[in-house]
Amino acid sequence: MLLALGSCAARSVPLLAQQTREQLEQIVRITGKPEKTVLHEVVTNSLKTYHKAPSKSAKAVLNLIEWAEQEHITGKATDVSTNYNMYAWEE
Protein backbone atom coordinates (compact mmCIF):
# COMPACT_ATOMS: atom_id res chain seq x y z
CA MET A 1 0.00 0.00 0.00
CA LEU A 2 1.08 3.48 -0.73
CA LEU A 3 1.16 4.73 2.85
CA ALA A 4 2.02 1.36 4.34
CA LEU A 5 5.21 1.39 2.33
CA GLY A 6 6.43 4.15 4.58
CA SER A 7 7.89 6.19 1.80
CA CYS A 8 8.88 9.78 2.35
CA ALA A 9 6.09 11.02 0.11
CA ALA A 10 3.45 8.97 1.88
CA ARG A 11 4.55 10.05 5.35
CA SER A 12 4.12 13.65 4.38
CA VAL A 13 0.37 13.16 4.04
CA PRO A 14 -0.62 10.92 6.96
CA LEU A 15 -4.22 12.13 7.18
CA LEU A 16 -5.38 10.87 3.81
CA ALA A 17 -8.67 8.99 3.85
CA GLN A 18 -8.58 5.30 2.95
CA GLN A 19 -10.47 5.91 -0.27
CA THR A 20 -7.99 8.59 -1.29
CA ARG A 21 -5.06 6.29 -0.51
CA GLU A 22 -6.57 3.60 -2.67
CA GLN A 23 -7.09 6.05 -5.51
CA LEU A 24 -3.46 7.13 -5.26
CA GLU A 25 -2.29 3.53 -5.23
CA GLN A 26 -4.32 2.89 -8.34
CA ILE A 27 -2.72 5.85 -10.10
CA VAL A 28 0.73 4.60 -9.12
CA ARG A 29 -0.06 1.17 -10.54
CA ILE A 30 -1.62 2.48 -13.74
CA THR A 31 1.01 5.08 -14.54
CA GLY A 32 4.02 3.26 -13.18
CA LYS A 33 5.25 6.55 -11.79
CA PRO A 34 6.94 6.79 -8.39
CA GLU A 35 4.64 7.56 -5.45
CA LYS A 36 6.39 10.83 -4.82
CA THR A 37 5.80 11.97 -8.38
CA VAL A 38 2.14 11.00 -8.28
CA LEU A 39 1.60 12.84 -5.00
CA HIS A 40 3.37 15.88 -6.35
CA GLU A 41 1.22 15.93 -9.48
CA VAL A 42 -2.01 15.45 -7.56
CA VAL A 43 -1.26 18.27 -5.15
CA THR A 44 -0.05 20.60 -7.89
CA ASN A 45 -3.12 20.00 -10.05
CA SER A 46 -5.43 20.44 -7.06
CA LEU A 47 -3.85 23.74 -6.19
CA LYS A 48 -4.53 25.01 -9.70
CA THR A 49 -8.26 24.51 -9.17
CA TYR A 50 -8.28 25.94 -5.66
CA HIS A 51 -9.89 29.35 -5.61
CA LYS A 52 -8.41 32.14 -3.59
CA ALA A 53 -10.40 33.96 -0.97
CA PRO A 54 -12.80 36.29 -2.72
CA SER A 55 -11.78 39.88 -3.22
CA LYS A 56 -13.55 41.88 -0.51
CA SER A 57 -14.02 44.94 -2.69
CA ALA A 58 -15.37 42.88 -5.60
CA LYS A 59 -17.68 41.04 -3.22
CA ALA A 60 -18.95 44.37 -1.94
CA VAL A 61 -19.82 45.36 -5.51
CA LEU A 62 -21.61 42.07 -6.11
CA ASN A 63 -23.61 42.68 -2.93
CA LEU A 64 -24.42 46.15 -4.23
CA ILE A 65 -25.63 44.72 -7.55
CA GLU A 66 -27.78 42.14 -5.76
CA TRP A 67 -29.20 44.85 -3.52
CA ALA A 68 -30.13 46.99 -6.56
CA GLU A 69 -31.80 43.97 -8.16
CA GLN A 70 -33.78 43.15 -5.04
CA GLU A 71 -34.86 46.76 -4.63
CA HIS A 72 -35.58 46.94 -8.36
CA ILE A 73 -33.69 50.18 -8.80
CA THR A 74 -34.26 51.27 -12.34
CA GLY A 75 -34.46 54.41 -14.41
CA LYS A 76 -36.30 55.86 -17.37
CA ALA A 77 -33.41 55.19 -19.74
CA THR A 78 -31.27 52.12 -20.38
CA ASP A 79 -28.26 53.97 -21.76
CA VAL A 80 -27.37 55.97 -18.66
CA SER A 81 -23.98 54.32 -18.12
CA THR A 82 -23.05 54.82 -21.78
CA ASN A 83 -24.26 58.39 -22.12
CA TYR A 84 -23.84 59.57 -18.54
CA ASN A 85 -21.90 62.63 -19.64
CA MET A 86 -24.85 63.77 -21.71
CA TYR A 87 -27.28 63.11 -18.87
CA ALA A 88 -25.01 64.87 -16.39
CA TRP A 89 -24.29 68.01 -18.33
CA GLU A 90 -26.67 68.40 -21.24
CA GLU A 91 -30.05 67.94 -19.59
Partner: protein, 134 residues
Protein backbone atom coordinates in the same frame (compact mmCIF):
# COMPACT_ATOMS: atom_id res chain seq x y z
CA UNK B 1 -3.54 55.23 -0.59
CA UNK B 2 -5.77 52.12 -0.46
CA UNK B 3 -4.57 49.22 -2.54
CA UNK B 4 -1.19 50.80 -3.18
CA UNK B 5 0.71 47.54 -3.05
CA UNK B 6 -1.84 45.42 -4.83
CA UNK B 7 -0.77 43.84 -8.09
CA UNK B 8 -4.24 43.98 -9.64
CA UNK B 9 -5.90 47.32 -9.21
CA UNK B 10 -9.16 48.29 -10.86
CA UNK B 11 -10.28 51.88 -10.68
CA UNK B 12 -14.05 52.06 -10.94
CA UNK B 13 -15.34 55.01 -12.90
CA UNK B 14 -18.79 56.65 -12.71
CA UNK B 15 -20.28 54.76 -15.66
CA UNK B 16 -19.39 51.43 -14.09
CA UNK B 17 -21.00 52.47 -10.80
CA UNK B 18 -24.14 53.42 -12.73
CA UNK B 19 -24.25 50.04 -14.43
CA UNK B 20 -23.95 48.32 -11.03
CA UNK B 21 -26.98 49.98 -9.48
CA UNK B 22 -29.35 50.61 -12.39
CA UNK B 23 -30.74 47.18 -13.21
CA UNK B 24 -32.26 48.16 -16.56
CA UNK B 25 -29.03 49.66 -17.80
CA UNK B 26 -27.69 48.13 -21.01
CA UNK B 27 -24.32 47.40 -19.36
CA UNK B 28 -25.69 45.97 -16.10
CA UNK B 29 -25.53 42.32 -17.15
CA UNK B 30 -22.02 42.63 -18.53
CA UNK B 31 -20.84 44.53 -15.45
CA UNK B 32 -22.25 41.84 -13.19
CA UNK B 33 -20.54 39.11 -15.19
CA UNK B 34 -17.20 40.90 -14.92
CA UNK B 35 -17.61 41.29 -11.17
CA UNK B 36 -18.48 37.61 -10.80
CA UNK B 37 -15.20 36.81 -12.52
CA UNK B 38 -13.21 39.34 -10.54
CA UNK B 39 -14.53 38.22 -7.16
CA UNK B 40 -12.48 35.02 -7.28
CA UNK B 41 -9.28 36.81 -8.21
CA UNK B 42 -6.85 38.81 -6.16
CA UNK B 43 -8.18 42.11 -7.43
CA UNK B 44 -8.55 45.36 -5.56
CA UNK B 45 -11.24 47.83 -6.60
CA UNK B 46 -10.80 51.51 -5.91
CA UNK B 47 -13.58 54.08 -6.05
CA UNK B 48 -12.56 57.72 -6.55
CA UNK B 49 -14.87 60.00 -4.59
CA UNK B 50 -15.38 62.09 -7.72
CA UNK B 51 -16.70 59.05 -9.60
CA UNK B 52 -19.15 58.27 -6.80
CA UNK B 53 -20.42 61.87 -6.75
CA UNK B 54 -20.75 61.93 -10.52
CA UNK B 55 -22.62 58.62 -10.65
CA UNK B 56 -25.03 59.56 -7.90
CA UNK B 57 -25.69 62.95 -9.47
CA UNK B 58 -26.62 61.33 -12.79
CA UNK B 59 -28.73 58.65 -11.12
CA UNK B 60 -30.53 61.26 -9.04
CA UNK B 61 -31.43 63.22 -12.15
CA UNK B 62 -32.16 60.33 -14.48
CA UNK B 63 -33.80 57.89 -12.11
CA UNK B 64 -35.88 60.65 -10.64
CA UNK B 65 -35.87 58.59 -7.46
CA UNK B 66 -34.08 60.74 -4.95
CA UNK B 67 -34.64 58.27 -2.12
CA UNK B 68 -32.87 55.56 -4.11
CA UNK B 69 -30.02 57.94 -4.90
CA UNK B 70 -29.66 58.65 -1.19
CA UNK B 71 -29.65 54.95 -0.39
CA UNK B 72 -26.90 54.40 -2.96
CA UNK B 73 -24.84 57.13 -1.29
CA UNK B 74 -25.39 55.37 2.04
CA UNK B 75 -24.01 52.16 0.53
CA UNK B 76 -20.78 53.92 -0.34
CA UNK B 77 -20.65 55.47 3.12
CA UNK B 78 -20.82 52.04 4.71
CA UNK B 79 -17.08 51.49 4.52
CA UNK B 80 -17.38 48.37 2.37
CA UNK B 81 -15.91 50.14 -0.66
CA UNK B 82 -12.30 51.33 -0.83
CA UNK B 83 -12.57 55.04 -1.56
CA UNK B 84 -9.84 57.32 -2.87
CA UNK B 85 -10.21 60.98 -1.97
CA UNK B 86 -9.17 63.54 -4.54
CA UNK B 87 -7.89 66.45 -2.50
CA UNK B 88 -5.91 69.59 -3.30
CA UNK B 89 -2.57 67.83 -3.05
CA UNK B 90 -3.77 65.10 -5.39
CA UNK B 91 -4.94 67.60 -7.96
CA UNK B 92 -1.69 69.53 -7.72
CA UNK B 93 0.33 66.42 -8.41
CA UNK B 94 -1.99 65.46 -11.24
CA UNK B 95 -1.55 68.87 -12.81
CA UNK B 96 2.20 68.42 -12.77
CA UNK B 97 1.96 65.00 -14.37
CA UNK B 98 -0.84 65.66 -16.81
CA UNK B 99 0.10 65.78 -20.45
CA UNK B 100 -2.77 67.19 -22.54
CA UNK B 101 -1.03 66.17 -25.76
CA UNK B 102 -0.70 62.51 -24.79
CA UNK B 103 -1.85 60.07 -27.46
CA UNK B 104 -3.60 57.75 -25.07
CA UNK B 105 -6.96 59.14 -24.04
CA UNK B 106 -7.00 57.70 -20.56
CA UNK B 107 -9.34 59.70 -18.33
CA UNK B 108 -7.48 62.32 -16.38
CA UNK B 109 -8.41 60.91 -13.01
CA UNK B 110 -7.54 57.37 -14.00
CA UNK B 111 -4.13 58.45 -15.20
CA UNK B 112 -3.69 60.45 -12.05
CA UNK B 113 -4.39 57.52 -9.77
CA UNK B 114 -2.13 55.30 -11.81
CA UNK B 115 0.69 57.78 -11.57
CA UNK B 116 0.20 58.36 -7.87
CA UNK B 117 0.45 54.67 -7.29
CA UNK B 118 3.79 54.53 -9.03
CA UNK B 119 2.53 51.54 -10.92
CA UNK B 120 4.85 50.58 -13.73
CA UNK B 121 3.36 49.93 -17.15
CA UNK B 122 4.28 46.27 -16.80
CA UNK B 123 1.93 45.80 -13.88
CA UNK B 124 -1.67 44.84 -14.54
CA UNK B 125 -3.91 47.83 -14.39
CA UNK B 126 -7.35 48.48 -15.66
CA UNK B 127 -10.18 50.91 -15.35
CA UNK B 128 -13.68 49.56 -15.18
CA UNK B 129 -15.77 51.77 -17.36
CA UNK B 130 -18.96 51.23 -19.32
CA UNK B 131 -19.10 47.77 -17.78
CA UNK B 132 -16.10 46.81 -19.86
CA UNK B 133 -12.64 46.22 -18.52
CA UNK B 134 -10.28 48.36 -20.55
Amino acid sequence: MPGKNKDHLVIVDADAIISFVSIDDENQHKAKQIMQQLVTSDVYLLFPTTAICEAVTVLRGRLNRPKDAKRIVAKFQSGDFPVQAVDHATLTEAGDLFNPMARRKTPFLTRLLLLLQNVSTQKPFSALTNGIEK
